[in-house]
């Protein structure tokens, strides 16, 4: 008995502390950016975002406690069931869902809306962890990666159908897990190269990209001049590359939606329209940039308070931090995320259980992706992709999902 109580407290304190700091910081920031300073409003009115967020935080703590109390084997055992259940819940949205901000991704229950997509992140992580854990014994290596990609492709397709591109992209973050579990690095490199050549093609034009590809081909042909097999492969890759470039613009024009295309164009500087398409990105940079080194002080932000920054409590909440806490505050926040992600990776590697390791990499990938894309978007490094900042952004589904995601890992690590 004594032994049991002792082990149940062997949770990783560092991760929990990061979690508490980020959630607390999140609430204070939501309070600052959503409080109407010009009107006396009751603190306990449920129309206030900060009051609602307090409820979300309370329920999240409750969820975390429950997870820490129940047996972690439950997650390993039922992971596939949980994954399938969450996919069904997402499909249910098509029948009973509500559309918010153009995305049909919400189920409304009374005053609150939940977003099943958010929960799919941890269910997918669980399912993939189980898949890799068991896949080793199956030894069917050939089909391994096809199957692994299917696990993330299914939720991506469902979410794309709900017109929530940002959330769909999040599932690509599991590629980090795949890489750790043996996916060849070439796929990553080719992926990065494809993104780079796409941006280059859109920014300049096809001719430039083809010239670059041709130069690369010449280089590799020279390097591989003694090996006819490699030369053949080089030529095949070159032809694929040229075709990819030629289809980039066509794909860009026809696959992406207008507003997405506009966001990319503004980021690339192809469109200059500070009051139109550029507005959000510009105002976001102005808010953060105006914070200076020390910031304007808590509750003293003007840009976020006066609605210049859109969605200042959810996707653009980092603007309020940047404006009120300046470079110092921003630096602390990105440091916290970085430390948290590295801590998760370190703990994952320490754990001898492959299930826990895989789950940990899935978690690290999801947090990293959210953190990088969200902050990159607010400071004008990336196009505007609407995904929340983990633990900080306002929203029940997001906070609950990230809490579950993190605390399952904390619980799994307990053993």
């Amino acid at each position: 008995m004594n032994q049991r109580t002792k082990t149940s407290f062997k949770i990783d304190v560092q991760l929990v502390v990061y979690y508490i700091i980020l959630v607390t910081l999140g609430w204070f920031t939501i309070y600052s950016s959503s409080k109407n300073q010009f009107v006396d409003e009751s603190f306990f009115s449920f129309s206030n975002l900060y009051t609602k967020q307090l409820i979300f935080i309370g329920t999240s703590i409750l969820l975390a406690m429950i997870i820490l109390l129940i047996d972690s084997r439950l997650w390993i055992h039922y992971s596939t069931h949980i994954y399938i259940a969450s996919l069904l819940l997402m499909i249910l949205v098509f029948f009973v869902g509500t559309e918010i901000n153009g995305a049909l991704a919400w189920i409304k229950i009374g005053n609150f809306s939940i977003q099943p997509t958010e929960f799919a992140k941890f269910t997918t992580a669980l399912a993939l962890a189980k898949f890799f854990n068991e896949g080793k014994t199956n030894k069917e290596k050939k089909l391994l990666w096809v199957n692994a990609f299917l696990f993330i492709l299914i939720p991506i397709l469902i979410i794309l159908a709900q017109k929530d591109t940002g959330s769909a992209l999040v599932f690509l973050s599991f590629v980090i897990l795949f890489y750790r579990e043996g996916l060849t690095g070439w796929i990553l490199l080719i992926g990065i190269f494809a993104v780079a050549i796409t941006i280059f093609t859109l920014f300049k034009n096809e001719i430039y990209s083809i010239i670059i590809l041709t130069n690369l081909l010449a280089l590799f042909l020279f390097l591989h001049r003694r090996n006819s097999t490699l030369i053949k492969r080089d030529i095949v890759l070159y032809v694929i590359g040229v075709l990819f470039v030629l289809f980039t613009n066509i794909g860009y024009q026809h696959v992406l939606q207008d507003h997405q295309r506009m966001r990319i164009d503004t980021l690339l500087g192809k469109v200059k329209d500070p009051l139109g398409a550029d507005f959000n990105s510009n105002q976001s940079k102005i808010a953060i940039g105006s914070g200076g080194f020390w910031g304007k002080g808590y509750l003293n932000g003007t840009q976020t308070k006066l609605d210049y920054v859109p969605e200042q409590s959810t996707d653009f909440i980092f603007c309020a931090i940047g404006e009120e806490w300046g470079f110092v505050g921003s630096f602390i926040v990105i440091s916290l995320y970085t430390l948290m992600i590295i801590r998760i990776i370190v703990l994952s590697e320490k754990n001898r259980n492959q299930f826990v390791r895989c789950y940990g990499y899935g978690l690290a990938g999801v947090i990293f992706f959210h953190f990088f894309i969200n902050i990159g978007m607010t400071i004008g490094l990336l196009p505007i992709i609407g995904i929340p900042l983990p633990f900080i952004s306002y929203g029940g589904s997001s906070l609950w999902a990230f809490t579950i995601l993190l605390f399952i890992f904390v619980k799994l690590n307990e053993n």
């Binding site: 980090i176 953060i288 105006s290 914070g291 080194f293 940047g322 590295i342 590697e349 990499y361 004008g380």
Partner: protein, 600 residues
């Protein structure tokens, strides 16, 4: 294999760290290095609203209000903040057509896209109330409280002056001003602009993305309260000014009255005049057009400061003083008068015959005496080797008596009249001239011209026996007890005080039994001198100068009535009535008053 894969954690941690560094550098660039965002943020969210101070009030010397302020509401526009709005409705409220509205907005855009410009002046309280309620539907527009000048008595228009919109040049010269601001353009309003305009206030308000004001910035800690302009106390006597304007009603000409011992101007009348309330606010430009195009009356022309009148016989007093100072005559020197001053074939007539000393000469305004005296000043070869040197000495005396020079006091647009210099005559007569060539200047005819202000100041010099303080219209600034220090310097004329006694006696005799009998007042010893300034364009101008009381002068007066005939006909009675009114605060001679008021 599994060992190899384990190393991949470092690649992944590396990617995380590189991302961290990229974000940190980008944040450092945005927040610390590039400070343009801070300015953009302020432009976004802060609106600085200028709070216009009320201009300073102007009182007369007895604390009666001459100028005060009325509330008015101006519609302003910030072009950059304009969005689509209901032009028809705005036009209806402002009572202008769409074309005019667009014209005004374009003008505002040309001036500045960021700063507010005036769209409509002085809306009525009703229009203001109506618009204020619907202002959220007109983004970019806001209403500014302003004050407008108001004049309880429609007098002293030229001296009080008027305010109008600043010009582009004035804005460029002085950063205090913004387009649509008012600035003093003439009179006291111009001379004391810096005192009267006050200090502008600033209200910093937060403006949200929908151009709605959301409250004050930092609880108003960066706001600046406007400070009303400083009040001024004029030297003018409201009642006297009013009386002077009544007397000059239907006439053309000027009255200037000065308190000799201070140089304070008690009243300064220029007729025809106008009601100063006509040049206020949105009726100003229309009325200004009417007034400035009136080429019969020239109501905007301030005769007291700008007109060039031949001084006439009153100038004989100056020549008498100079002759005494130069030692040409003494008070008892007698010049025979054969009914005129002969120079070869030409004679300057005199309306009497007999011998005169200086007293008689002033009393009866003898032309011969002053021609001779003037001729002798210019022909004094023992002192001055050439006519040029002698004339230059005379000119210098005249200048020190205040003629041919500007006072540069607090009366804008003052002109200096005209006293020809030696070069003028050298050119005119090809250097061949002598005392007789220019002798008509000795009796105030000929080329010389003076302004009413200069003549009145000359009377003050006589009253003071040799010195003056610059004539001015503002005696105290800020409070009645803080005197205007600009005019405390005493100017000496260089003429000995005793020489003034003869002049004063002569002027006394002129009133008792000479040309100036019509100026006599029971109970007040007034001394004076008539003048009849020859007018090439018509009937002579009636001129009179006076000082009273003789024993301790309180008021020196100059009166000129254009085409009024002899000095004694109308100018002398006016000077007399002004003096009586000022000293007794009432006029007993109602018949004379009535006759003068009716005189045209």
């Amino acid at each position: 294999m599994s060992q190899l894969l384990q190393k991949r954690q470092y690649t992944i941690i590396g990617i995380v760290l590189v991302t961290f560094i990229v974000l940190a550098f980008r944040l450092f660039y945005l927040q610390v290095i590039d400070d343009s965002f801070r300015q953009s943020a302020d432009r976004n969210a802060l609106r600085k609203i200028i709070e216009h101070p009320a201009r300073g009030l102007i009182y007369d010397r007895n604390d009666s209000l001459l100028v005060y302020n009325d509330a008015a509401y101006d519609l302003m526009v910030v072009p950059n903040e304009l969005r689509a709005f209901d032009t028809l409705e705005l036009c209806r409220v402002l009572n202008i057509d769409k074309k005019e509205l667009m014209k005004r907005i374009e003008k505002a855009m040309r001036w500045s896209k960021m700063l507010p410009s005036l769209v409509a002046q002085q809306m009525s309280k009703e229009d203001y109330g109506y618009l204020q309620e619907k202002l959220h539907r007109f983004p970019g527009f806001f209403v500014q409280n302003r004050t407008l000048r108001h004049y309880p008595h429609p007098i002293a228009a030229h001296i009080l002056g008027y305010v109008g919109e600043v010009s582009r040049e004035q804005i460029e010269k002085d950063p205090y001003y913004q387009m649509g601001d008012y600035i003093g353009l003439s009179g006291i309003e111009k001379a004391y602009e810096n005192e009267l305009r006050g200090t502008k206030g600033i209200r910093v308000v937060l403006v949200d993305v929908h151009n709605r004001e959301r409250g004050s910035y930092k609880d108003g800690s960066e706001d600046v309260t406007p400070i009303q302009g400083v009040s001024l106390w004029s030297t003018l006597d409201l009642e006297l000014q009013k009386y002077g304007e009544e007397l000059m009603h239907n006439k053309r000409g000027s009255i200037v009255a000065i308190e000799p011992e201070t140089g304070e101007i008690l009243c300064i009348v220029s007729m025809p005049s106008y009601d100063p309330n006509l040049l206020v606010g949105n009726v100003r430009s229309k009325n200004y057009g009417i007034l400035s195009s009136d080429e019969v009356n020239f109501p905007l022309f301030n005769r007291a400061l700008m007109a060039r009148y031949p001084p006439g016989s009153t100038f004989k007093l100056a020549n008498g003083l100079i002759a005494l100072q130069e030692g040409i005559v003494t008070s008892t020197t007698i010049y025979p008068c054969p009914g005129g001053y002969r120079m070869g074939s030409h004679t300057i007539k005199c309306h009497h015959a007999g011998s005169t000393n200086l007293y008689n000469a002033i009393q009866i305004s003898c032309n011969t005496y002053f021609c001779k005296a003037f001729y002798n000043i210019l022909s004094n070869r023992s002192k001055y080797p050439t006519i040029q040197k002698a004339y230059a000495a005379w000119e210098q005396h005249v200048n020190r008596l205040g003629f041919g020079v500007k006072f540069d006091s607090d009366l804008p647009y003052e002109l200096k009249g005209f006293i020809p210099d030696t070069t003028y005559f050298d050119k005119k007569y090809n250097r061949a001239w002598n005392g007789n060539t220019v002798v008509s200047m000795g009796i105030g005819q000929g080329e010389a011209s003076v302004t009413p202000l200069q003549m009145a100041n000359f009377m003050a010099i006589i009253a003071n026996k040799g010195f003056y303080y610059k004539p001015h219209v503002i005696k105290a600034i800020g409070s009645k007890n803080s005197p205007n220090t600009r005019f405390q310097k005493r100017y000496e004329t260089g003429i000995k005080p005793e020489y003034f006694d003869a002049i004063i006696e002569g002027m006394d005799m002129a009133v008792i039994g000479g040309t100036a009998r019509s100026a006599k007042i029971d109970g007040i010893r007034i001394i004076g001198k008539t003048g009849t300034a020859q007018n090439p364009h018509g009937r002579d101008h009636s001129v009179f100068v006076s000082i009273a009381p003789k024993e301790s002068p309180k008021i020196a007066v100059f009166v000129l009535v254009e085409n009024g005939g002899y000095g004694s006909t109308v100018a002398a009675p006016i000077a007399s009535l002004i003096t009586e009114f000022y000293i007794n605060r009432e006029v007993k001679r109602k018949d004379l008053e009535k006759r003068i008021k009716e005189f045209q």
